[in-house]
Amino acid sequence: MGNIFKLSAILFLVGGIAAGMLAFYNSFTKPEIEKLKAQNESEARQYVMRGLFQKESLGGLIYDEDEIEIGGKTEKFWKVREKESDQYYKAFVFLSKGQGFSGVVETMVGTDASFKINTIKVLKHTETPGLGAESQTVKYGESEPFFETWFKGKNSLKVVVEKDDSASPDKVQSITGATITTRAVCKSINKYAEAVKAKLDKPPVIYVDPENIISVEETLKKAQADSVKAAEESAQTGTEGNDGGAK
């Protein structure tokens, strides 16, 4: 009997020492890891905004953080302004997550105010090398992953795999042998864009409906007019709760 207690005590001791060492070690590495994570996130945000803003202003964009509900979980997204005085948001960024072939695929998506995709960036995946993992592959002699370029200019609310809807103007090819991965990315973008749109679809309108879009300038004019109108309305009725409003 005494032996059992001795062995348990030894195992307990070993486990305790190991846990203590790891806790100690973790206290060193944790801040570094968090710092890197935040840095990666902000780099990815900047990456998906390339081309939508002038190069000089990319670093100084203002990202207003907001939240959406996806499948019972709260997720972050960002509303992008160029400068503090801007009354409207010019772009949105969200990190969409979807179940791929062998795990979650995380994609940073940048859209303009009409939810047209500017650039996407596949941040994290556990897909099969040579198939789904091609979503991050840069072909020899090219500067960015070919998969990302397929998404440029598509409507994020409607983007779809070619196999599912070959008539859609927002179709994308699927990666050879990895339709599931491609579909996962498309579906997750749809889902998140939908949620962001639903969240913002309250007055004052701070972006413009994709169907009505004519040019960037008109978009902005309309956005401003709408926001003024809505502000007047809310002033008249005295109602509060415009949580989607421009800050």
């Binding site: 195992l11 190991a18 590495t29 099969t128 040579g130 198939l131």
Partner: protein, 207 residues
């Protein structure tokens, strides 16, 4: 056994994957590209060296009947520390290996060497043995992954060889980077090693 022999026995003569048939699971799973193979091999080597040294150091204090759980705790501690270190200071490597590092805990080579060698030999010998076995594991992974990457995608270390030579049209067979390709390649290499061993044995016997 001389130190040199102790080190090099893991390379081919007692190669953990190709001869001892240990750690086949990661060898099949991660060998879809050479880069993955090298990364996994080096990470496993680091854990192997660390855990072998500690196990050998503590061998007098570890009671025989609970040695396996204690080995596992030591190995898991090392793996977690390496995982955290990579995440914090070498994020690029952590990104490409992230998936495989937790797998090292259950790699039979590490537990196997702790049990069969480190718990019976001196610290120095154990470290040498661990380095040799680690290199042997890496050799086996690189061997399997170069066959699979080349036949599967037509490239080596990410460079499309055929395209570079100006030959278009060779795209490789996707099957080779899927699980069947892993089994096929591993089977053929194991068969070759065995054939080679038997042939040598027959020669020695005939003399």
């Amino acid at each position: 056994m001389s130190m040199m022999k102790n080190l090099t026995k893991g390379f081919f003569k007692e190669n953990p994957v190709l001869v001892l048939a240990l750690g086949l699971c990661p060898s099949l799973a991660v060998t879809t590209s050479i880069e993955n193979g090298i990364g996994m091999g080096l990470a496993a080597t680091a854990v192997l060296v660390g855990s072998s040294a500690i196990v050998s150091l503590l061998k007098k204090f570890i009671p025989g009947s609970v040695r396996i759980p204690i080995f596992i705790v030591i190995i898991a501690t090392f793996v977690t520390m390496i995982d955290l270190t990579l995440q914090a200071f070498i994020p690029a490597l952590s990104k490409s290996l992230g998936l495989f590092i937790p797998l090292i805990v259950v790699n039979c080579i590490i537990l196997g060497r702790a049990e069969a060698y480190a718990s019976k030999n001196s610290v120095f010998d154990s470290i040498i043995d661990a380095i040799g076995m680690g290199i042997g594991f890496t050799i086996a992974l690189v061997l399997i992954s170069s066959v699979r990457e080349f036949t599967g995608t037509g490239s080596l270390l990410g460079y499309p060889l055929f395209q570079l030579m100006g030959i278009e049209g060779f795209k490789g067979s996707i099957m080779m980077i899927l699980p069947p390709g892993g089994f096929l390649t591993m089977g053929l290499i194991l068969a070759f090693m065995q054939w080679n061993r038997l042939r040598k044995k027959a020669k020695e016997g005939g003399r």
